[in-house]
């Protein structure tokens, strides 16, 4: 039973990560690969608050959320001013640098060893109770994302994604909306990180490497980006899949790389075969408006 509870808790954490990230890349069109970094900042924020300063559970979670929100605000202010391609590179760098900072700053983070002794409050001591809490939080995040998506703010985001100039010309504050959703999505990752820190009781840098960003990306892409149901199914499949692979009885030195190859290979395969995602339908595929210079496209594609 402990095993199932562990898998279910992991699933809840990945649901929080995936719905936030799905919102950010699917609806707002902000393609970053630093989601695991914000997850890690939240986890370390909560861990430092709880283990080093003895702050209570709820306060420590808030510290984690604020830490990743603030970090994403800084990255967003700098990177969202320019074309989306720059966000890819700067977030890729951010992801690598956050891990480097965690490893190189032992006074704050205890370096590669990580922070131990993050104790849960007595009421959540049992894993079963903690799972209930994580499930409730995950559900709340899903509902929150769904309602924001249906709100005027959500429509403004999609309008800005499809045509930033047109959205701005009818008075939508494109930059502010994008920055807002980037910070929101990263703060959710910080929340998931805080929950992770208290679940595990310790944090270490390897749990937040770029591979984790790729896993979350694979969850969103597999289900079809932009749809909450897609992110949920993606999270379910990709959390259960490694458990199945673990059954194969491979040595641990082989198991890790094999799982990563499957995640990465899945991204490549989905992009070649069904860029709209396995659950996405063709009709929902994002289309550019026909323009006079459309004829240039085939040549560009051939290049």
């Amino acid at each position: 039973m402990d095993y199932q509870i562990g898998v279910a808790t992991t699933l809840c954490l990945y649901v929080i990560l995936a719905v936030g990230y799905n919102f950010q890349i699917g609806q707002a069109g902000l393609f970053s690969v630093a989601h695991a970094a914000f997850y890690g900042i939240g986890a370390y924020g909560a861990a430092i608050a709880a283990a080093d300063h003895g702050l209570p559970f709820g306060v420590a979670l808030v510290v984690g959320i604020v830490a990743s929100g603030a970090a994403s605000l800084l990255l967003g202010l700098l990177s969202l001013r320019v074309h989306g391609d720059y966000l890819v590179v700067s977030s890729f760098g951010f992801q690598l640098i956050v891990i480097a900072v965690i490893i190189n700053w032992p006074e704050l983070t205890n370096g590669p060893i990580g922070i131990l002794g993050i104790d849960r409050p007595a009421a959540l001591e049992a894993d079963r109770d903690y799972l209930v809490l994580c499930a409730v939080v995950a559900l709340a995040c899903v509902v929150l994302c769904a309602s924001i998506s249906r709100s005027p703010f959500g429509r403004a985001l999609r309008a800005a994604r499809d045509d930033a100039l047109a959205a701005a010309s009818i008075g939508k504050r494109v930059k502010r909306a994008r920055l807002g959703i980037f910070v929101f999505s990263s703060a959710l990752a910080g929340l998931a990180g805080g929950l992770y820190a208290f679940y595990q009781g310790f944090v270490s840098p390897i749990s937040f490497s770029i591979e984790v960003s790729i896993i979350v990306l694979a969850m969103v892409i597999l289900g079809g980006s932009g749809r909450i149901s897609g992110a949920l199914v993606g999270a379910l499949v990709l959390v259960l899949l490694p458990e199945l692979i673990a059954e194969l009885d491979l040595s641990s030195a082989v198991l890790g790389p094999v799982q990563q190859i499957i995640y990465g290979g899945m991204l490549v395969a989905v992009m070649i075969a069904r860029p709209e995602g396995v659950l996405g339908t063709r009709a929902r595929r994002r289309r550019k408006p026909k323009a006079a210079n459309d004829i240039v496209e085939p040549a560009r594609q051939a290049a």
Binding site: R81, I295, A303
Partner: protein
């Protein structure tokens, strides 16, 4: 001390300029953000290791073997992955997703084949060549500097002074018109992948001697290449060489006062400052329409 750091920065800049030029060339001609460049580099470094250590070839030959291997791998990625993706999806992000997937797949394949631990390739003889002021110039500095700058010079010459370069630039600037005039954009794109990837062979030889080879080296390398490309200005591939020197000098002079493990962080700081102040690059031309929007 400072003089020594500047010399180190110039040497590293010459090394960085090769992957940066390759990344920039591929981006310039095909519009592809080729993150898997890092994974091609990882495999290139293992090819140097295999050829030099296992087969006992001299380092120069090992670098050539690796260059050929990298060119084949880069072209295979273009033909087998990027072309089908471009064919299926118009969103430029599809290519980035596929490219990140490849980066992870190829990096972990390398780990499966060669194991997670660093492999040693050898080390430079530290023969002193001459003194420059109070800085000693040794073989490990002279060779990378000359080889890096020389190869970068060859590619820049190729790009701006030959018909082949004219083809590449023409296809980048206006694929349709160059097609009407008889060029084949697809072929030019493949050429860019071949040249850009082949540059990783010598890069791998220069870096692996002394630093060894491990499965994750490609991640930092592609970040360096990306930062140098943006630093130089994406519309001018040759400027990536300048971007590489700026980045390397900042990294090396930056560790004058703080510990050397912060090198990569300083390099990333350079990127953040640049996209804030000069997103069109240090040597780029200001063209706001290229930067704004989607």
């Amino acid at each position: 001390m400072l003089e020594q750091l500047i010399v180190n920065g110039l040497v590293q800049g010459a090394i960085y300029s090769l992957p940066a030029l390759g990344f920039a060339l591929i981006l310039y001609v095909t519009g592809t953000f080729h993150f898997a460049h890092g994974a091609v580099y990882t495999w290139g470094a293992y090819m140097v290791y295999t050829a030099h250590v296992d087969w006992g070839l001299p380092l120069v030959l090992a670098a050539l073997v690796s260059a050929a291997g990298c060119a084949v791998l880069g072209c295979a990625i273009e033909v087998l992955v990027y072309r089908p993706v471009r064919h299926r999806s118009r969103s430029p992000m599809s290519i980035v997703v596929a490219s990140l997937g490849l980066l992870i797949v190829l990096g972990n394949l390398a780990q499966l084949v060669y194991g997670p631990d660093a492999k040693l390739v050898g080390s430079w003889p530290t023969t002193k060549l001459f003194s420059l002021g109070n800085v000693n110039i040794r073989l490990p500095q002279a060779i990378p500097f000359v080889v890096g700058l020389g190869l970068a010079g060859v590619v820049v010459y190729l790009l701006y002074r030959t018909r082949l370069g004219l083809l590449l630039r023409g296809v980048s600037i206006n694929p349709l018109r160059s097609q009407i005039l008889g060029a084949r954009p697809a072929r030019a794109g493949l050429l860019a992948f071949a040249i850009g990837s082949a540059l990783l062979g010598p890069t791998a030889a220069l870096i692996s001697l002394d630093q060894g080879v491990s499965p994750t080296i490609g991640l930092e390398l592609v970040l360096v290449a990306g930062i140098a490309t943006i630093a130089g200005g994406v519309r001018r591939p040759a400027a990536a060489v300048g971007g590489a020197f700026v980045l390397a000098l900042a990294e090396n002079v930056g560790i004058w006062q703080i510990s050397s493990q912060w090198k990569a962080t300083i390099g990333y700081g350079v990127l953040l400052v640049l996209i804030t102040l000069r997103p069109y690059g240090i040597f780029g031309v200001r063209d706001v329409s290229e930067l704004r929007g989607g």
